[in-house]
Symmetry: C2
Subunit: 277 residues, 2 copies
């Protein structure tokens, strides 16, 4: 693992690190914010998964999360959204290939060799983080935006016991019924719709739910509402009697101006769950 | 109007008043909390509509709302849930007749002469309150529990511009599809299903929504979830992109122990909207 940069930030350190990923078969980059408390011992960890076209860098610079993470003594990790490099398959579209890993393990050509973002985020990166940094891996929570909200919700429900809490900003909520989902799940996973179902937050909510609190924020003026399908997830959460809140925030769109406006609430929500454990 | 009682309460006054109601054709009783600020001029008003079997008295003594209303300088009114008196029709069941007015104007025998709770809450009582007390009737908000949550939501959506904000605790959310609704709407309104639809929060949400923020709290261990149907309202709110929050509170049931646990949040929510106007 190499250090690309480290900057003092809200009394802690915002780092960027690179490492050879066996899951993705390429070099991967991630951002990690460690609050000052990490100098004295392991701190809880909040994952932030980003959306389409993003790298590790977008949320790290635009979401304003470090201020609140520092206040609560929580670390933040910002993984990349896909494998990277010249020998990694790509597509001309912004929503397939690089920057669009969708947090699945691809089984289909040409994606299968590198597009294993589920294993990367669920296994490889947590192992690396737990080994190299002062992180309490018994206290993890997860959030994300758009495609990253999809990732946060599907990882949280797909890995019972791993995360104390999950939240999402304008998540892709029902990808098996959306053009943000059917195209990518088809390309990466083929026509095995049983596997698709394990990567659909609404279907997972109907099937199992999440053993902890959930917070969803969605902007009412989001330009992608027809693709995100928040109403399907809202209905499934209420029908399951899932502990949590679904909030429709009037006038907000899909941007990081929306994400940053409610980041304080999300970090505080996760801090409650992380410190209750 | 007669004063049944007045007690000093959180620096203000909790009163109980009776008056001859022309809407209901009987004597009606209501509770009114006025904060200390009402001595200096008109204050905003939050309506609290109660559920099946309740009178004006339940929430007044068990919901703990006065503490937060005093903090925000807001008045609270607690109407009764049906007409009262020996000449008022009733039914042996707890969920029809007295204590079960459902906030509609009955058109059917034997209910039509007295069961006009919509007109009482929407017209007669506001006129009386605005005339007799230091209330700023341009700043009204509304909440309620169970059948009263149904009333709050249907009045808020049925009277556009009247209320700045609406909230509900475990509301009867979709009465046209529930045994808490079909029985009563049939008895009071007959088989005119177009009129039923104007008294169903989910159908109103699908049709028009509410021009302001909504807050819904529902306990996950509510013993009446199958009758309340919160998932229908949650889906309709998200599908309309309705500004607001739908919260599933883990482990809480249908009681006033639930209502009182979240009353602080609801009063603060309404205070935000009332003072933004």
């Amino acid at each position: 693992m190499d250090t690309a940069s480290e900057n003092k930030c809200f009394g802690g350190t915002q780092g960027v690190y690179t490492h050879a990923s066996s899951a993705c078969g390429c070099e991967m980059t991630f951002g990690l914010f460690l609050p000052a408390e990490a100098q004295d011992g392991p701190v809880p960890l909040l994952w932030y998964l980003s959306g389409l076209t993003c790298t590790h860098e977008n949320a790290m610079t635009k979401a304003g999360a470090q201020a609140w993470a520092a206040e609560h003594g929580i670390a933040l990790v910002f993984p990349d959204t896909s494998p990277r490099g010249e020998d990694v398959a790509d597509d001309e579209a912004y929503d397939l290939g690089k920057g669009a890993g969708f947090y699945v393990n691809a089984t289909q050509a040409p994606w299968a060799p590198h597009f294993r973002m589920w294993d990367y985020v669920a296994e490889e990166l947590p192992a690396l983080l737990g080994e190299r940094f002062a992180l309490d891996m018994e206290r993890q929570a997860i959030t994300g935006h758009s495609m990253g909200g999809h990732g946060a919700l599907t990882l949280a429900m797909g890995l019972p016991g791993r995360f104390c809490s999950v939240s999402a900003f304008s998540p892709i909520a029902h990808p098996t019924q959306s053009d943000w989902g059917r195209k990518q799940l088809g390309a990466y996973l083929g026509e095995d719709h049983a596997t698709w179902a394990t990567h659909d937050a609404t279907l997972l909510m109907r099937e199992t739910g999440f053993d902890g609190p959930i917070l969803i924020d969605q902007g009412s003026d989001d330009q992608f509402l027809e693709l995100l399908k928040p109403e399907a997830l809202a209905e499934a959460m209420a029908a399951r009697r899932q502990e949590g809140s679904f909030r429709m925030q009037r006038g907000y769109d899909h941007s990081y101006f929306f994400v940053s406006s409610f980041m304080e609430d999300h970090v505080a929500f996760h801090a409650d769950a992380l410190y209750a454990k």
